[in-house]
Subunit: 427 residues, 2 copies
């Protein structure tokens, strides 16, 4: 962990930096796989799956038998944990649906918005070093609440051709049936164009490694929008002298264990807390199984001491962290100062792992400074609004003095005519 004390703003650029992710080097690979999948469908998907995942599958689609088997392979303790998490996630996301807008700005002019589900969505759940079944919950529950008609899941199988039982169990628990043993670029390509087995999705969701991220960017160029751009996971822990060094250390380490590229930042107004936290990290780290990943991530971790609290919030907003842990005195009074952050954990008993799994908030969050623009995944991301307007003759008479001069000034006589012809007919 690199330590900085009262860095002047002129040096912040360096401290605010994320590692450069140059996905353009993957462009040729992505384009090639997309082209093959577009032309050859399932055949290409199978070939790339054999090549990259090292397995040969009888069927790309998970069978009912496999779902049932998964239920036997998950402990009751984990099943209960999943049920609790799913219930909390469901409550948080159900509260987001919101109601329609309805106004009548003038007599005879009614306007409103209604929200409709995106009919077909594709969810991507990474395999890799950890079986992230929690991601499945975070993607599928809001999709189900939104009312998406077709929810498909792609997730890579291991060399043995099997998906981790906890992922399959979560699909089974939520009643998802269209689950495919396909990962990486070929999964995103299959969602983009459709194949014999996997149907074309209208929007793509879910995190992934750099290959998946590059493929999702390409999908947008091919006309299929995505949830948000993804980068390495991040935490910014902010603490004053009231912070508990051991707890802060545990939060920093839980972020670091995600991967060598994890972004770990600690900001404090208490200078001694940095050293205390560093020592606590050393002790805790020795007991963690993923310590080699952690120590790689910590090489670019940053601990920053600021004397002034104003600097702290300025730094937070400029960095726009994915996760922000706020371990300060009377945190509620400072929340209005937060302009840019994905998910905020308030007070000493709110570790990031609560939100990663079970508090109910979504763990699909904006990274790489995108919290300036995007929020955590929510039900609205699986829906779109439709505007409606119903205008009566009186309403059109009321609007005409606005429409007619504006259409004329924009030199669009046809637009003007659509109003005048109606009003002339009835007078």
């Amino acid at each position: 962990m690199n330590i900085y004390k009262n860095p002047p703003k002129s040096e912040w650029d360096q401290l605010l930096k994320r590692p450069v992710e140059d996905l353009t080097v993957l462009e040729d690979l992505v384009k090639n796989i997309f082209r093959e999948v577009k032309i050859n469908g399932d055949k290409a998907v199978r070939e790339f799956t054999r090549k990259f995942d090292g397995n040969t599958l009888d069927s790309l689609k998970v069978s009912p038998k496999e779902f049932h088997q998964s239920a036997d392979m998950v402990t009751d303790e984990l099943k209960n944990a999943i049920a609790t998490a799913a219930s909390n996630i469901r409550q948080f996301h159900e509260a987001q649906v919101g109601s329609s807008t309805h106004i009548e700005p003038m007599k005879g002019v009614e306007c409103w918005q209604e929200f409709r589900a995106i009919e077909k969505v594709g969810l991507y759940v990474p395999g890799g070093t950890a079986p992230l079944f929690s991601t499945l919950l975070m993607l599928a529950i809001p999709a189900q609440i939104s009312g998406c008609r077709e929810i498909q899941v792609c997730t890579p199988a291991g060399k043995d051709g099997k998906i981790h039982p906890a992922i399959l169990y979560c699909c089974h628990y939520l009643g998802l049936k269209d689950v495919f043993k396909v990962g990486g670029i070929q999964a995103i390509a299959a969602f983009t164009y459709g194949t014999e087995t996997i149907s074309r999705a209208y929007k793509l969701f879910g995190p992934g490694n750099q290959y998946v991220t590059a493929a999702k960017m390409w999908a947008t160029m091919e006309g299929v929008p995505i949830d948000m751009p993804a980068g390495p996971s991040e935490v910014l822990v902010c603490s004053d002298a009231s912070g508990n060094a051991e707890w802060i250390a545990s939060d920093l380490l839980s972020q670091a264990e995600h991967g060598p590229d994890s972004q770990v930042i600690f900001i404090t107004t208490s200078e001694p807390l940095i050293e205390e936290t560093r020592i606590a990290m050393g002790i805790q780290m020795a007991r963690l199984p993923r310590k080699s990943i952690i120590s790689e991530a910590l090489q670019h971790a940053r601990a920053i001491y600021f004397e002034e609290e104003e600097m702290v919030f300025d730094f937070i907003n400029q960095y726009a962290p994915e996760h922000l842990i706020l371990n300060i005195h009377k945190p509620e009074e400072k929340l209005h100062k937060i302009q840019n952050a994905g998910s905020v954990f308030i007070g000493p008993y709110s570790p990031e792992s609560a939100g990663d799994y079970a508090s109910g908030t979504n763990h699909t969050l904006p990274t790489y400074g995108q919290a300036r623009v995007f929020g955590g995944l929510s039900v609205r991301d699986f829906m779109k609004n439709i505007s409606f307007q119903k205008i009566t003759l009186t309403g059109l008479e009321n609007l005409a003095p606005a429409i007619i001069p504006m259409a004329a000034a924009e030199q669009l006589e046809g637009h003007k005519n659509a109003v005048t012809i109606r009003l002339k007919s009835v007078t």
Copy 2:
């Protein structure tokens, strides 16, 4: 207008098609301009402006004097029209802000979402054949309601170095000060990287021609998200035998006058209405100034007769039109059948031009079938949510039986440790 009668579904693919927009041919041009603007800032912007817009500007930024002059150049009639439209647009968009989500799924676990404005936005207003000041209202009013701190506008000046007075007046009327005489690819590049005069925007909004569209796609690759992908404007008018052929004709023509690539579709369950409408179009068109544009657009326009109403809604949802005019008996009873459309105009007195200018709904709408995924521009597009969670000791005790087994099953011991270390310390 091409006429089809009861086309079988096997032939729909052809009828649902949009013209292919191959923006990749512009890739080199876009990349080159972006690179120049990134390196040389204002100097490059000025050079491209001279080259493409044919003007040489003293200052890229509109001066206070120019704003004041614009007010003298706009008639009172148009000023009143703009005031009415702005008021209706403001009312519709203020109703969209919505309230925060707040839940307490377990004792001691509070979760909520808050919405914050995106701090810096860049709005693009096209110049070109028609001075689209209405677009300025549609972009800037929701941005202002959201509370965006920095709202910048780029719009191209003419060969005389001037922006159309109606556009300037709208900026002035709304109190916008950061307005730049820059258009095309160089405007989007300036927003993406920032120059000496134009500051970097976090998100880009606004329609444009193919150059602007290609530039916006490149901006997303450079990490600056956009409102939505844009294509040529579209209307689908749907009418039963109750429809008035003259009024339908006026709606089809008002769409066609947007440009030669405008998409004009008429669907009816009344066979004779097609011929009646065709005749009415011929008569009205002769009087419209943009008739050469209209006749080009009508070459690929489609009129489709369907005997069955079910087919009509099926076609609408598959096409996902930007604008949908619903001229049918008891339209309210059919609204639930509409899954994919941008803005819907209900009944005979709701022409598209009402929504284009003044009813209050936003005219920045999804084209090219993107209504499957996107809605019209709304206040939420200028904001992002932030998730908050505040957990007490009791709350963490309640969540622990969910977090701990899930973290263990995902092989993330550090995540588990962040919970257990807190609970151990206090027991």
